[in-house]
Amino acid sequence: MRAAIIVFPGSNCDHDAYIAFKKILDQPTDFVWHKETNLDSYDLIVLPGGFSYGDYLRCGAIARFSPVMKEVIEKSKLGVKVIGICNGFQILTESGLLPGALTMNKYRQFICKDVNLKVENRQTVFTHLCNEKEVLTIPIAHSEGNYYCSAEELSQLEANNQIVFRYSTPDGNINTEANPNGSIVNIAGIINNTGNVLGMMPHPERNAEHLLGNSDGKKILSSIVDSFRRN
């Protein structure tokens, strides 16, 4: 498996993602500047966190038109795996690869803390190494993570089992207290209906080894790597 970490002007979690795939998971990994237009040699595309284009206009709105995104959209249609983390998730919704939008946190704060995340769907290439209904602890760091979509889109997400992660209590209850940012039905991460594009606000690359508190993030990143071994 070869991973491309896309670097936009203002990306700042690109190095964390690079180290997670390259050093911790020992996979061939490259930084790919956003001006690149050919991603033929990659099996996984990572849109990392950060503040692409300074979050001007709307988070992800300008990055979505970077030259590389045309190719990302193209590859995603061919089934190449794409994971967007935080700002990467915002870019995925802006580009229409995932439904909905990420709006300002309900209480206006930038929130940087560990949250509990219930794995709602482990039948995905991104989560199959997690246990059924496992609760992971993974950090978030965002101002605009309040997931919104129309009632119609929400019922489609639910019907197709596309809600992959929800903010929960440590014992897996989904309630308002466990919701850090006001996201609709506590959504923290969703997948597209073909199962190859995942967007999530929490940062699995930030706790992919024990040294950084816990290694729950590694379960997600390892699931991706392992899915290539199985094929």
Binding site: I62, A101, M104, K106, R108, Y148, G182
Partner: protein
Amino acid sequence: MKVKVKVVLKDGILDPQGKAVLHAINDLKFKGVGDVRIGKYIELTFDSLDQSLVENETKEICQKLLANPVIENFDYEIEELT
């Protein structure tokens, strides 16, 4: 030609900035304001004087970039420079 574009959150989309400003207005003891919504104001200056080109491009720019149709509505006014 100058085009004045307004981008506003759709009804029902939470506007935390608007809420904060409403609280500030209430703290200032103004009694009349019931709600505040904050949007964006964008000016586009076109070199072209071709009204239909300006209108078509404005519409497309708004749909593609300036507004996110999931959460926002837009409106614009074309102003001829004299």
